[in-house]
């Protein structure tokens, strides 16, 4: 059983993360992971770069709390959250959420829950740099808040 989070500037390797999720776990019959990447167009603007800021200390604490909450709700064997910070380019990986479980239902639900809550609660902020070099902070979207709210018990 391995549950861990990381906030880092470095890229991550999905293959390595997958291997770590199933390591020594013959019971993990279901593995689900999500990777978020830097998109080229957002709200009609052509994006060339993304810069991500976070609140050190609170971010790690909150991501750990999300893992604890997911473990209370579903039968999980392992889970991993990685979120990058700093300057990213088009197509770069931003976030990894991976979970393993005996059954797919728990794995699917937990992965979606973790992503929804991460987006709505974890103290990260994205700044987009567009073709003209102008940088604009990304606006929070109400649909992200709604996605998190549907998991409320």
């Amino acid at each position: 059983m391995s549950f861990s989070i990381a906030v880092q500037e470095n890229d991550f390797d999905v293959g390595n993360e997958y291997a770590a999720l199933i390591e020594d776990e013959v019971n993990s019959g279901a593995v689900v992971f999500f990777v978020g990447r830097v998109r080229d167009v957002n709200d009609g603007r052509i994006i060339t770069k993304l810069s991500i800021e976070h609140y050190p200390g609170m971010t790690e604490k909150l991501l750990d709390q999300l893992l604890d909450e997911a473990r209370k709700r579903w039968q999980l064997l392992s889970a991993r959250i990685i979120h990058r910070c700093g300057d990213l380019n088009l197509g770069d990986q931003i976030v990894f959420v991976g979970v393993s479980s005996a059954h797919r239902q728990d794995a699917f639900h937990a992965a979606e829950f973790l992503m929804d809550y991460l987006k709505a609660r974890a103290p990260f902020w994205k700044k987009e740099i567009d073709l003209s070099g102008e940088s604009i902070w990304v606006e929070a979207k109400s649909k992200d808040e709604e996605a998190a709210e549907r998991w409320q018990e």
Partner: protein
């Protein structure tokens, strides 16, 4: 001292990343906010329009809260990670 942190576009708009406030000036979160805005009238519009979130010691606080010497208070705009 209460350590007050400003993040993301709030930090940019205020031109300030953090400030320390004597704990005698701010026994609660609302007193802290009043104190900051009285000291810095130019911040009022930003605080009113940015729909700010608040954390005390790295945990979200929605209502008012008591503050103690050594606490860290953060103000920041709605989050956009993921």
């Amino acid at each position: 001292m209460i350590h007050v942190v400003f993040l993301a576009q709030l930090r940019e708009q205020l031109g300030l990343a953090s400030v320390d406030v004597s704990s005698s000036e701010a026994k609660t979160l609302s007193e802290l906010k009043d104190y900051l805005l009285q000291k810095n009238p130019s911040w009022v519009t930003t605080f009113q329009t940015m729909n700010l979130l608040t954390a005390v010691n790295h945990a979200y606080v929605k209502a008012d809260a008591d503050l103690q010497d050594g606490d860290e208070v953060a103000f920041f705009p709605p989050v956009t990670g993921g």
